[in-house]
Amino acid sequence: MSVGGRIVKVSGPLVVAEGLPEARMYDVVRVSEAGLIGEIIEVRGDRVSIQVYEETAGLGPGEPVVTTGEPLSVELAPGLVESIFDGIQRPLNVIRERHGDRIQRGVDATPLDRTRRWLFAPRVKAGDQVVPGDILGTVQETKIVEHRILVPPGVSGRVVEAAAGEFTITDPVAVVERADGSRVEVAMLQRWPVRKGRPVAEKLAPTEPLLTGQRIIDTFFPVAKGGTACVPGPFGSGKTVVQHQLAKWPDADLIVYVGCGERGNEMTDVLMEFPELRDPKSGEPLMKRTVLIANTSDMPVAAREASIYTGITIAEYFRDMGYSVALMADSTSRWAEALREMSGRLEEMPGEEGYPAYLGSRLAEFYERAGKAKVLGSDGRLGALTVVGAVSPPGGDLSEPVTQNTLRVVKVFWGLDANLAYRRHFPAINWLISYSLYVDQVDAFLREQYGEEAVGLRQEAMALLQEEASLEEIVRLVGVDALSAADRLTLEAARSVREDFLHQNAFHEVDTYTSLEKQIRLLGAVLAWYREAKEALAAGAALEKLLKLPVREAIARARYLPEHDAEAFARLRAEIASQVAAVREEGEVVA
């Protein structure tokens, strides 16, 4: 399967080789005696350019290169969940056991454990007709993830045998007879090339929100299940905390977290924290539904380029089982930089800021792999893949190419603001510049679940914040005294929306997650005070007294009330009404 080629040039992660006549674009090759893994990214006559996924120091001309004849692929089978892989799906825990604390070169380890036996429960029986995507059987991979074994692409026909029992991932679990009489043994293990999206039966428009427990996201700028979102922000604005929160609390069945060129300790944080934290729905540790891909910034740059494809292929595989999957990529800017570095070494003509001209199309291709879909299989299951990408614009400048090209394809923009972060307003999502194009779909969902009031609250709060922005312009010019009492009340109410509702402490055990139901109650309470105070003010009540009502402190602390304590909120609302009414009566007496 392989004919030997020879290295002719080494320049950082780029190696040029000769003598590989059968080389195809994107085939995986093994470079040098050490067997470093690389991928062909350019073919010119007899010369092929290879991006090497490992450190190339010590390589020189004349060393051998062999092609494997296969594109870069991932292994898909039980054992993915709770694992941590590098950018080309090598299991980091296994590598540590075998090779120590540092990542050596030329390490070879199969992504998934070949010896572990899984309890397979068939869903089909002999004689059933199956088509690609049909569920052959299931494996309870973790307490919360039921791994569905699907009929692989290209296999359809009649089931001859499907055995229950314990199998490794390479053991055949079923035999299918094709129409022409040939028999195929199907094992749990499948492979899929990472740069090719997995097919679906039909793509659908997203309708349901992905609930994240983050108030500014769920209430103001929701992302739909199967939607795409991006979080650009300068350093220190809390991008990673937002990404972690999104990986922790969404009501998705499975999370794929890709740490792409970011800090090593952030992955460690996830590794230490996720087994401790519990999913609010199932009560099980979050790790039991998480797959981690880690290519930290000190790891070889070329593997960073591959890591997001590895991640999204795994995510698609779970979507195909009929699950709602969320993929977080932190950060796509590092991925783009890896692209830029390789492009520079290939001496391609640069586009903007040295990025290759194909940056936009690569980004679009990646995000387009998200979506809600009717997946393959005869039962018409629905799956969804939500993609959230962090962007790290240099100097916080959103006009740079990666941000701009991302904004052209994603539907939700959560713009992080360094000034909010300096004030320790977290999540530092700027409500004036952010947007979500899923608002209409999500409104329909809200109306159905919680009634018209829930929809109105957001609009009212948003209007209040917009008004605050314009009033603040005036205050900056002429001072707060120039404002009418009504305007000052508006300012106070907007402050309350910001501080008592939008601000959310990711490190506080209660505040870190708020269900949509509680979000509606909380925002309802904040706005109830505003509405009633406004009426009271019009009826002659004193502004100062309305602002200093003791119940306002209770509103500020309402976020710490227990999740399902509807009564506590009802008491709060009653208290607001009675305290405002008391001030109003006083005012009327004076008047």
Binding site: K9, G60, P394, E499
Partner: protein
């Protein structure tokens, strides 16, 4: 016997092209003999066929194409290490400087290191008390963290780094501790300041210094931080020490990198810096950390001067994306005569949440920290408004916040270069200042802490 080449075909800036080379490897160390007795070192940047492109650490002055002899050593750049390395002063390429004796090497380590497997990392969460309130209270440093100081020309970053090196300790622990100092292109005076300070406090015997001064070869600086970190890794993981690494000044390092990139005619990224600056810096900064089941640790404090105090300049910008926070110095506070002039609002320690709280510092730490930030930010805003409109335009509450901001800068931020505040002192000081504000405004603090720690009005007037 190594083969010697006399086939240098081209010398341009810090680069040299050698032809007819057999078996050169990417990244290997090269020895160049420019003339009798003039030994220099270089590194292979690219090999293509029988051509090798070599980066010269000591510059190209005086190299004659015909006379220069080149040897490829078949190994990367290495640092000789042994326990005796402690107390030594070395140059930017790890050769003894001054009267430091030559080291009898126990082993040699490749200075590029290898990436740490993320699975092997242990999360840094041990609180380091630096005795500086703005760091301990608000931007807590933990063992294994990389926390840079973003400074500007003329700001006292050296004093602050020296103060941290002097005072840093982990509460309730007596452990082996060492300082590694890597100087890239700093002046003799600045380097001397550190040496004197280390000497005065008796820290010199447990320090290792790698010094590349402003008039030393610029390209040599590319190796200096790696020398320092390799030494730190030896001390931390072979000798089980807790190592504090100070690198100053990273701006000079990046400029050397830019020089090489420009000489190679690479497509530049922002401001002429190479597109791989992020990756390159990451391979330095990410060497800080802790590893599971290992006793030692590496805490890294790189110092960089921001050209024109511009935070969006590629060097601080990319650094900030890699490091776990940043301490930013403020020229405004420095002008006001406040030391240390830490610009509290944009400064940040990303690992603080894991290093504080009950058992580490105190239960009220997180809440008071958030509250101090929020209150100071509001006070600063009020003060800005007052500048435009006069103090009369402020509401009563905002006036209180403005007053709080002043007191905060004067009492919390300001402290002496030799003042070593304990964490309790820092936290209590925070409460004292917060007592200036109405209790209803202290929204970020849990009720139970307010009840337990907030000084009563009587206390606070007495304190003032």
């Amino acid at each position: 016997m190594l083969k010697e080449y006399r086939t240098v075909r081209e010398v341009a800036g810090p680069l040299m092209l050698v032809e007819g080379v057999e078996g050169a490897k990417y990244g290997e160390l090269v020895e160049i003999e420019a003339r009798e007795g003039d030994q220099r070192r270089g590194r292979v940047l690219e090999v293509s066929g029988d051509h090798a492109l070599v980066q010269l650490f000591e510059g190209s002055a005086g190299i004659n194409l015909g006379q220069a002899k080149v040897r490829f050593l078949g190994r990367g750049i290495e640092l000789a290490v042994a326990p005796d390395i402690l107390g030594g002063v070395y140059d930017g390429l790890g050769r003894p400087r001054g009267n430091t004796p030559r080291l009898v090497a126990e082993r040699r380590m490749d200075i590029n290191g290898l990436p740490i497997n993320p699975w092997a990392r242990d999360y840094p969460n041990e609180f380091i008390q630096t005795g500086i309130s703005t760091i301990d209270g608000l931007n807590t440093l933990v063992r294994g963290q990389k926390l840079p100081v973003f400074s500007g020309a003329g700001l006292p970053h050296a004093q602050i780094a020296a103060q941290i090196a002097r005072q840093a300790k982990v509460l309730g622990a007596e452990e082996k501790f060492a300082v590694v100092f890597g100087a890239m292109g700093i002046t003799f005076e600045e380097a001397n300041f550190f040496m004197e300070d280390f000497r005065a406090t008796g820290a010199l015997e447990r320090s290792v210094l790698f010094i590349n001064l402003a008039n030393d070869p610029a390209i040599e600086r590319i190796a200096t931080p790696r020398m320092a970190l390799t030494c730190a890794e030896y001390l931390a993981y072979d000798l089980d020490m807790h190592v504090l690494v100070i690198l100053s000044d990273m701006t000079n390092y990046c400029e050397a990198l830019r020089e090489v990139s420009a000489a190679r005619r690479e497509v530049p990224g922002r401001r002429g810096y190479p597109g791989y600056l992020y990756t390159d810096l990451a391979t330095i900064y990410e060497r800080a950390g802790r590893i599971k089941e290992r006793k030692g640790s590496i805490t890294l404090i790189p110092i960089l001067t921001m050209p024109e105090d511009d935070l969006t300049h590629p060097i601080p910008d990319l650094t900030g994306y890699i490091t776990e926070g940043q301490i930013i110095l403020s020229r405004e506070l420095h002008r006001k005569g406040i030391y240390p002039p830490v610009n509290v609002l944009p400064s940040l320690s990303r690992l603080k949440d894991k290093g504080i709280g009950p058992g580490k510092t105190r239960e009220d730490h997180a809440d008071t920290m958030n509250q101090l930030y929020a209150a100071y930010a509001r006070g600063k805003e009020a003060k800005e408004l007052a500048v435009i409109l006069g103090e009369a335009a402020l509401s009563e509450t905002d006036k209180l916040f403005a007053k709080f901001a002043d007191a905060f800068e004067d009492r919390y931020v300001r402290q002496g270069p030799r003042e070593d505040r304990s964490i309790d002192q820092t936290l209590d000081l925070g409460w004292e200042l917060l007592a200036m504000l109405p209790r209803a405004e202290l929204k970020r603090i849990r009720d139970e802490f307010l009840a337990k720690y907030l000084p009563t009005p009587a206390d606070s007037t007495a304190a003032q």
